[in-house]
């Protein structure tokens, strides 16, 4: 279980987040939605402990995130963010292996090599293994990065949950790869010790894949719960100033929004 209580985060005088509390359960896919500048990314960065809250705390299981060492944290928590650029020539496979860095000192173990093979296969980038990362296309780079990040938390750890954060990961992906990626995340989140929290922009992707949604508006939690309960006309009107029409996806009967 991952929990945030009364998080406050300020930049200068501006409160980006104002007393945000939320809880995230294992085996579930949680997605954070909200208008631009609402503080979604900031919330994910606080949860992942890239930045430290001015008030409130983030707890991993029972432990205050502040008490974990960098390396301890990196063994159980991975973060997929937007495009990563590398100025130096490095083979894609070596980049993926970096995801295992927190798990070994010196040389990678046989298990680390095995995990690299598995994640590269999972993201369909095995063929790019020997190519220099810098020469890949935007979409290929993003998939190699997915593989690297997932390699970090690919297998269960001895004690406690694994945590995966997604900070707007769908940039640079076409619709086919977006759906493919969300399906993979979905299957990953079904593991009983896996807590997944992500930010996405597309409300329909959120409606389709999330177990729980958190709507952030102006630095506060405006709504949280099952997608059907969060994506209501009142909430969306207030946060996004749009008027949604809820329809059903003919394929699976799921919620789908179109906008006036």
């Amino acid at each position: 279980m991952l929990s945030a209580s009364d998080l406050v985060y300020c930049v200068g005088r501006r409160r980006i987040l104002d007393r945000v509390s939320a809880a995230f359960d294992p085996g579930r896919l949680h997605l954070i939605i909200g208008p631009n500048g609402a503080g979604k990314s900031t919330l994910v960065k606080l949860l992942a402990r890239l930045i430290v809250p001015d008030m409130g705390d983030v707890r991993y299981g029972g432990a205050d995130a502040q008490t974990l060492t960098h390396r301890d944290l990196a063994r159980r928590r991975a973060v997929l963010s937007q495009a990563v650029e590398v100025a130096f020539p490095i083979p894609a496979r070596e980049l993926v292996m970096m995801g295992r860095y927190p798990h070994f000192t010196g040389r990678p173990s046989a298990a680390d090599e095995e995990i690299c093979d598995e994640v590269m296969d999972f993201f369909d980038v095995t063929g790019l293994a020997g190519q220099s990362y810098a020469t890949l296309s935007g979409g290929e780079k993003q998939r190699v990065n997915f593989a690297r990040v997932l390699a970090q938390v690919w297998r269960p750890i001895v004690e406690g949950c694994r945590y995966l954060f997604l900070d707007e990961p769908l940039t640079f992906l076409d619709i086919g790869h977006q759906l493919g990626f969300m399906r993979k995340v979905r299957s990953f989140a079904d593991q009983p010790d896996m807590i997944v929290v992500g930010v996405v922009h597309d409300l329909n992707l959120a409606a389709r894949f999330a177990d729980r949604l958190v709507l952030i508006d102006d630095g506060r939690v405006a709504a949280a719960g099952a997608p059907e309960d969060v994506l209501t006309p009142e909430h969306l009107q207030k946060a996004f100033h749009v008027q949604p029409i809820a329809v059903r996806n003919p394929a699976d009967g799921g919620l789908h929004l179109i906008f006036e």
Partner: protein, 345 residues
């Protein structure tokens, strides 16, 4: 996939080591006077067994040629590894080891010594110059580091460090310019000469000091190869991979300053080696720092020895300042590498 890559890496490092040994032998052998291999052998044997060299040639070999050759290897290794560390830290392939103020600060320290020493007429002995240069290098680097973290966030970002380094470099160099402008002729010449680099002052004492800094620096650097690899992805990503980025920056800067300040203190400013060495290595086998750091020590040592050999034999019996050789040879090589551009910036 990675086993053959490991093997290739081992082979390349072995090749670099062999090249270094060959060049070192050549640089001991040739110079103002040449030694035959047999002379080299018996003179080395005499040195190892502690016998006084009998001939003048033997003394030249033991007290000038040999320490100078070793000094070239050490300083080359320092500059090569320093370049690799700084380029990795700044995630930028066109960064020199002196970027954070170290070599320009050392230049200012030495210029101050030359001018003040002659004005105040004190004679502080042979160690005053290297000490002044070393203090100048460390002080300038400290100023860069302190100013770069005094920003609003209190966190020393890489970009702040880079820009502050550029500013302090400019300030130090204008200080050097001012001092050489007000200096009398012999001091002004000394300043200019020192800024072009020279290996002629090498003796066994200075070799020992530089040797400790080099070996310690290289050994410590190797420990940071993995976190520096993670830093290629950016500061945020490195943090996510469990790297304590603030501590990494501090450690790598400290190692670099210690190596570059000490090396520069005894030999003056030598450009381009630190810039070019990591480039060449990356073209051969990519940017993995576990390979780059070891490789840049070997290749840096080799290239600086070649430069010193050229400096000594091209105008025999006179010699060129080594900094001129590294620039004349280094700039075209660098431009060629840029045009080849096997990787994107």
């Amino acid at each position: 996939m990675s086993a053959p890559r490991d093997r290739a890496r081992a082979l390349i490092l072995l090749g670099l080591f062999a090249a270094m040994v060959l060049v070192a032998v050549a640089s001991i052998r040739f110079g103002a006077i040449d030694f035959s291999l047999r002379q080299m052998f018996s003179a080395t044997l005499a040195l190892v067994t502690g016998r006084e060299p009998a001939t003048l040639d033997g003394r030249i070999f033991a007290e000038l040629r040999l320490p100078r050759a070793v000094m070239c290897l050490l300083v080359g290794a320092c500059l090569g590894v320093g370049g690799t560390l700084m380029q990795a830290l700044f995630r930028n392939p066109i960064v020199e080891p002196g970027l954070v103020g170290t070599s320009s600060g050392a230049a200012l320290g030495s210029a101050l010594y030359f001018v003040l020493g002659s004005v105040l007429k004190f004679n502080a002995g042979p160690w005053a110059l290297p000490v002044a240069a070393c203090i100048g290098g460390i002080a300038a680097t400290y100023v860069v580091f302190a100013l770069s973290r005094a920003g609003e966030t209190g966190r020393s970002s890489i970009v702040m460090l880079l820009l502050t380094g550029l500013a302090i470099n400019a300030l130090c160099l204008s200080g050097v310019g001012f001092l050489s402008y007000i200096a009398r002729d012999p001091q002004a010449r000394s300043i200019i000469f020192w800024n072009l680099g020279t290996m002629s002052g090498a003796d066994w004492k200075s070799v020992t000091i530089v040797g400790v800094a080099t070996l310690g620096g290289v050994a410590l650097s190797l420990r940071y190869a993995k976190p520096l690899n993670a830093l290629m992805l950016g500061e945020e990503e490195a943090l996510y991979l469990g790297v304590n980025v603030a501590r990494l920056k501090w450690a790598v800067l400290t190692i670099n300053v210690a190596m570059v300040a000490v090396a520069t203190a005894f030999t003056g400013v030598i450009g381009f080696v630190g810039l070019i060495v990591p480039h060449i290595l990356r073209i051969i086998h990519g940017a993995d720092n576990r390979y780059l750091i070891a490789g840049s020590a070997l290749l840096g040592a080799t290239l600086l020895s070649v430069a010193d050999l050229i400096a000594r034999v091209s105008l025999r019996p006179a010699e060129l300042p080594i900094g001129i050789v590294t620039s004349i040879v280094g700039v075209p090589v660098f431009l060629w590498l840029l045009r080849k551009r096997q990787y994107v910036f």
